[in-house]
Amino acid sequence: MRKRILPIVLTVFLAGMFTLPTARAQQPPPPQPAIAHTSLKVGDMAPDFTLRSDQNATVKLSDYRGKKDVILAFYVLAFTGG
């Protein structure tokens, strides 16, 4: 009887050794902080705004209409990598 049980126990043990790490590897990665992506698309009108500049001037996006193209470069924070 003992001789019959031992192979079964060994088989279950070995099967567990190989399947457990695989099951762990298949777990979904932990959730990452949500990164906002713009819903604006090429061809949309850029929302107008009026903001104060570093030189204390008032800058309005629509003031450039018909005069200049504008590159709007949103950066994370001053004194960081941008």
Binding site: A36, T38, L40, K68, D69, V70, I71, L72, F74, L77
Partner: protein, 96 residues
């Protein structure tokens, strides 16, 4: 490019942006979106940290968006400059 204006935008206050501009030597305006309203309207406000994600928009003379660059790619202005060159050609009626 004389037909193009670059505007930097962050949630920093004007004095912070002024000090930052002096430190890195930028010649274009850095704008303060302290209320986060503009970042929200452009859909790039990071709700968790309350700052705008790094994004570049190219807006043509009609006020239409011609190019959007998000994430780390937005650090390199090459694409935005190339798009502006193409937009200028289109506006002047030249070939692409």
């Amino acid at each position: 490019m004389k037909d193009t204006e670059v505007l930097g935008i962050s949630i920093d206050a004007p004095p912070s942006n002024q000090a930052f501009a002096e430190k890195i030597g930028v010649k274009f305006p850095l704008l303060s979106d302290m209320t986060r309203q503009v970042s929200k309207e452009y859909g790039i406000l990071n709700d968790q940290f309350q700052f705008a994600n790094r994004t570049t928009f190219v807006v043509d003379k009609q006020g239409k968006i011609q190019h959007i660059q998000e994430g780390n790619g937005a650090i390199d202005p090459t694409d935005a400059i190339d798009i502006c060159t193409t937009v200028h050609r289109k506006e002047s009626g030249g070939a692409q």
